[in-house]
């Protein structure tokens, strides 16, 4: 492989799937078998997608490393680059480099309960954790608390509904909060009255008991969500060291050079792309501007 950290590797789009009106799921595989064999990642890591001649953008991996042979990216159409990607079809080739970042400490958390708190697009990196936990079976119980705008915005809807129905058998309980009422939501709520409700993601904590000494919380969502979710967790006496969150900044290079993702002040500066994107709440307390 090239020693140039900015070189990207050809990956073919195997499948494009509409998740919502804004998000598509791209399943990719590297063309070069050697690259494919060497490509290992951890849940929570990200890659840089390269559309040759148009530019690059960072995106978190939403498939699990337990399922080899492909790589999945959930891409929301928000800007020039992602609009371009949304026009791409099966068989098209993009460039990929990475994986970058630290990822979630999955091994350290083995044997514990996991609470995954996802808001909106934050479901994407946490899906990698979710399937990793289910596939390996090395975790006590997995809760997924997922806050979404409306029924139509639920990412991986089929999977979420499947887990609502059959999650118990996999030690996985899913809870869903939606903000905009619709017939589909009400139908869902009727089916799973204890697990689906109208409200925000923090409402899903209500009535939930967990052993704070054997639980880790993993959070990903829009910037505004962190404060409220963390407060909820701290109120339940979960240690800041057991709260992991994955953050977003403008990662341009991914390798700690370009300076766009630097946060902090004169006493503590961090590169989100290398020191993160996964941080504990201790890190947030000692690094201004992290959340």
């Amino acid at each position: 492989m090239s020693e140039n950290p900015y070189q990207t590797y050809d990956a073919r789009i195997l499948e494009v799937k509409d998740l919502t009106s804004r998000e598509k799921l791209f399943t990719l595989r590297f063309l070069d078998p050697e690259v494919e064999a060497k490509f290992n990642f951890k849940p929570g890591q990200f890659v840089i997608v390269d559309i040759r001649g148009f530019g690059e953008f960072p995106i978190s991996i939403c498939s699990s490393p337990t399922r080899r042979g492909y790589l999945q990216l959930c891409i929301r159409k928000v800007g020039r680059m992602t609009k371009f990607v949304h026009k791409m079809k099966e068989g098209d080739v993009v460039g990929i480099r990475g994986p970058y970042g630290n990822g979630f400490p999955m091994e350290k958390m083995e044997g514990s309960n996991l609470i995954l708190v996802a808001g909106g697009l934050g479901m994407a990196p946490l899906r990698s954790v979710l399937w990793y936990a289910i596939d390996t079976g090395k975790y006590e119980n997995v809760w997924l608390l997922y806050g979404t705008k409306a029924y139509e915005d639920i990412l991986f809807r089929d999977e979420i509904i499947h887990l609502l129905k059959h999650g118990e058998a996999m030690n996985c309980s899913v809870k869903l909060a939606y903000e905009v009422e619709s017939p589909s939501c009400i139908y869902l709520e009727q089916g799973f009255s204890d697990r689906v409700c109208k409200g925000v993601v923090t409402d899903l904590f209500r009535g939930e008991e967990f052993d704070v000494n054997n639980t880790y919380a993993l959070i990903c969502g829009p910037p505004v969500m962190y404060k409220f979710v963390i407060r909820e967790l701290l109120d339940r006496k979960l240690s800041p060291g057991r709260i992991y969150m994955t953050l977003e900044r403008r990662m341009r290079c991914g390798v700690g050079k370009c300076g766009h993702c630097v946060v902090g002040t004169s006493v503590s500066m961090k590169y989100i792309c290398q020191d993160g994107p996964v941080f504990t709440y201790w890190d947030a307390l000692s690094t201004r501007g992290l959340i």
Binding site: N4, Q7, D50, G53, R250, K257
Partner: protein, 334 residues
Amino acid sequence: MRYIKLPSENFERFFKSLEAWGTLYAPVKKGGIYSFQEVHDPAEVARDYNRTMLPPKKFFFRPKEAILRLKNGRWEEEVEAEPMVLFGLHSCDIHGLKILDKVYLDEPADPYYKSRREKTLIIGISCMPDEYCFCKSLGTHFAMDGFDLFLHELPDGWLVRIGSVRGHEIAWENGELFEEVTDEDLANFKEFEEKRAKAFQKEVPQEGLADMLDLAYNSPVWKKYAEICLACGNCNMVCPTCRCYEVCDSWMDAYSSVRERRYDSCFMENHGLVAGGHNFRPTRLDRFRHRYYCKSYFDPTAGYNCVGCGRCDEFCPAKIEHVKVLEEVRGSLK
């Protein structure tokens, strides 16, 4: 360290001999400012310059450069580097390069920066501070390493410190140009350094600087200066340690494209902008403060991100003074 003497009358021959090692760049006066330019004649060199506008980082991390070229659907790398000799770097700039090295040579190393850095000889030269310099207070007024040769001015020549194997090779190959250092030379060297130490007019009080600044996060002084600041990003461009860059692809024709990077500035609004329009540093105040925190960040292995060269002060159109801002912020805590 090996010390030798270059008598004044041999300077020209010594300078010409450097051309054998690569293209020679040295500070030249252009209009009212100095800049590093290709030189062939020692008479062109401004040996007593205060500071160049762009620091020597421009040779390694270019203001704008192609990093990849798209040919037949594949990115091809462009790691070209020609041997260079940078003559006449001041100690602060040598320290500035060391800070850039920490970033760009850390794994994974930036291949463009690395190849240029490896093919470049650094020859330092002593200087006298002017009203903008505050390197002494940051400990960057004297370079202990990071150069191949360092020339210290003496009344009748130069005391030369040899800082690398290539420095030894230059001295070896031009053996006839150099002399042994005498006690008188050492006395003159000491006298020059003492005179220089007394000439500094500005200093950053270092004690607890990083913590003090962090505590003063909400100081009204930031706001006061953010209102004066024009957010032009000049200070970023001329800073020897600022290294943010932006990447941009552009098409050359229907089949080939180039991926370029260029200097970026943390004063620009899109520096902290992410997909979907969320900006992590939305106001000028956020961006102004960020730069000061970045420059005052203390890395235990590399020191501060500021070397006290004074460029940001001299080239600031709003006449904002770095040290004054830090002092006022510190003062606002009392």
